[in-house]
C-alpha cells in the first residue's frame, strides 16, 4: 500500500511562507518550476548555459519582488513572464538571434532519413529549425507546444492578445514545417 503523504503545499501557501520570512521555502517553488523554465529559456536562447543564466536571474528577481506577484495562484505564469522578459533582454544584447556556429549543435547527414536518425540527432535538427524562427514566433511555439500552455495563459505570460498569439503560432508551425522539410 502506498502512503501518499501530506499533499504538496499550493503555490499560494508557499508564497505566503516565503513572504512570512521562510526564505528556504522558495526552494519548493524552484523545484516545482525550474525544469520547465530552464527548458523554455534554453529553447528561447538556443543554448543551455545562456538559458540557465536567464532562469537564475529570473528566479532571484522573482524572489526579491515576490510581494509584487499579484495573483500567487497564477505563479507559474508570473515566473514564465519574468523569464521570457529576461530572455528577450538577453536576445536584445546579441547582435543576432541566430546562435553562433560554435554553439550550434552538429547537423546530422541530411542524406539520412528522419526515421533512421538517432534521437539526439533529431533533437539537434529540430533545435536548429526552431532557432531559425524569429524570437516572437519561437516563443509562441514553445509556450504552446513545448510548455503546453493555453492561449489564455500565453497571453498572461507574454502580454500579447490571443489572436496575435494564434497568428504567431500558426506562422511558427508553417516555418518550422518548411525548415524541417528542408533539413531532412
Amino acid at each position: 500500500m502506498v502512503n501518499d503523504g501530506p499533499p504538496a503545499p499550493t503555490d499560494v501557501e508557499v508564497v505566503a511562507r516565503v513572504l512570512g520570512g521562510d526564505g528556504e521555502a522558495f526552494g519548493i517553488l524552484i523545484r516545482r518550476y525550474e525544469p520547465g523554465l530552464l527548458r523554455f529559456a534554453t529553447r528561447m536562447l538556443g543554448n543551455p548555459d545562456a538559458g540557465a543564466d536567464a532562469v537564475a536571474e529570473s528566479l532571484v528577481r522573482a524572489y526579491r519582488h515576490l510581494a509584487q506577484c499579484r495573483d500567487p495562484a497564477r505563479l507559474r505564469s508570473w515566473l514564465y513572464r519574468i523569464t521570457g522578459n529576461r530572455c528577450r533582454s538577453h536576445l536584445a544584447r546579441r547582435r543576432t538571434n541566430d546562435i553562433s556556429l560554435s554553439e550550434a549543435p552538429p547537423l546530422a547527414d541530411a542524406s539520412d532519413s528522419w526515421a533512421v536518425l538517432e534521437r539526439g540527432e533529431q533533437v539537434a535538427l529540430v533545435e536548429r529549425a526552431l532557432n531559425a524562427l524569429p524570437a516572437e514566433k519561437r516563443e509562441a511555439f514553445v509556450l504552446k507546444h513545448v510548455e503546453g500552455m493555453s492561449y489564455e495563459e500565453m497571453a498572461a505570460v507574454t502580454g500579447a492578445r490571443i489572436p496575435t498569439l494564434k497568428m504567431r503560432v500558426h506562422r511558427a508551425r508553417e516555418a518550422l514545417l518548411a525548415a524541417l522539410e528542408e533539413l531532412v
Binding site: 526564505g23 533533437v123 502580454g159 508553417e174
Partner: protein
C-alpha cells in the same frame, strides 16, 4: 532561406486541438505527426539545475516585504495632517474634488498629531469603484504590502478616498479592489512599466514636500 507557405487550416485546427487529427487526409496527417514529433523532441529537459546557485544568491536577500515601517506609516496616515495637495481629475470628478476641498477647508482644532517632515508630503488617493467592498493602495512606498493603506467610502457612493504621509519623490502604486483585483489608477496621469514585461504599468505619483505644497498651493503630480 527556407520556403514557407501557408499550411492547411485543417492542420492548424488539429494542432490547436479543435479537430480530430484522425480525420485529416494522409498528407496532412504526416505533417501533423512531424510537428507533434518535433514538439515532443523539444520537451527534453535540460540536464542542468540552477537551484543551488539561486538559493545561495537569495540567502542574504529578503523579499521586499515590509516589517516595521508600514505600521509607522499607518500611524502617521491616521494622524491625517492638513497640508494636502490634490490630484486633479477629469471632469467627472470635479464634484468630488469640490467635496474634498470643502472637507479639507473645515477648520480643525490644533492637535499634537505629527505633520509631514521637511522631506515629506501628503498623498491623496481617490478612486471611483461603485459596488466595491474594499479598496486599498499598495505601492513602492509600502513595499507593495497589503493591509497598510485602506481607502474609505464614507458616503457609500462608490467614491473611495484616503491619504498618507509619504517621502517626497516618485512612488509607484496600484489599487487593490475587493482584495484581489489589481487596478491601476485610471486617473493617475502618469504610468511606468512594472518591470516584469508584458506591458503592464503601475500608476505613478510624485509627492512634493508639504511645505513646498503649502507655499505654492501646487498639485502633487
Amino acid at each position: 532561406m527556407m520556403a514557407m507557405s501557408p499550411i492547411d487550416p485543417r492542420l492548424q485546427e488539429a494542432l490547436d486541438g479543435e479537430r480530430d487529427p484522425g480525420t485529416l487526409p494522409m498528407d496532412l496527417r504526416e505533417a501533423y505527426a512531424r510537428l507533434v514529433g518535433a514538439a515532443n523532441l523539444l520537451q527534453t529537459l535540460p540536464a542542468v539545475s540552477v537551484a543551488a546557485r539561486v538559493m545561495a544568491e537569495i540567502h542574504d536577500l529578503k523579499p521586499e516585504v515590509p516589517s516595521v515601517r508600514p505600521a509607522r506609516r499607518l500611524m502617521r496616515w491616521l494622524a491625517r495632517p492638513r497640508a494636502v495637495t490634490l490630484r486633479l481629475r477629469p471632469a467627472w470628478t470635479l464634484a468630488l474634488v469640490a467635496g474634498l476641498a470643502a472637507i479639507l477647508l473645515i477648520p480643525t482644532q490644533p492637535t499634537n498629531r505629527p505633520s509631514p517632515g521637511a522631506q515629506e508630503g501628503i498623498a491623496q488617493f481617490v478612486g471611483h469603484f461603485p459596488g466595491a467592498r474594499s479598496v486599498e493602495v499598495v505601492g513602492s512606498f509600502n513595499d507593495w504590502s497589503r493591509g497598510s493603506l485602506h481607502l474609505r467610502d464614507e458616503h457609500h457612493d462608490g467614491i473611495w478616498h484616503g491619504a498618507a504621509v509619504l517621502p517626497a519623490g516618485p512612488h509607484e502604486y496600484m489599487f487593490i479592489v475587493d482584495g484581489e483585483r489589481w487596478v491601476p489608477d485610471p486617473l493617475a496621469g502618469r504610468y511606468v512599466d512594472d518591470g516584469f514585461g508584458a506591458g503592464r504599468e503601475n500608476s505613478l505619483l510624485i509627492v512634493r514636500p508639504a511645505q513646498a505644497s503649502l507655499d505654492e498651493d501646487a498639485t502633487l503630480r
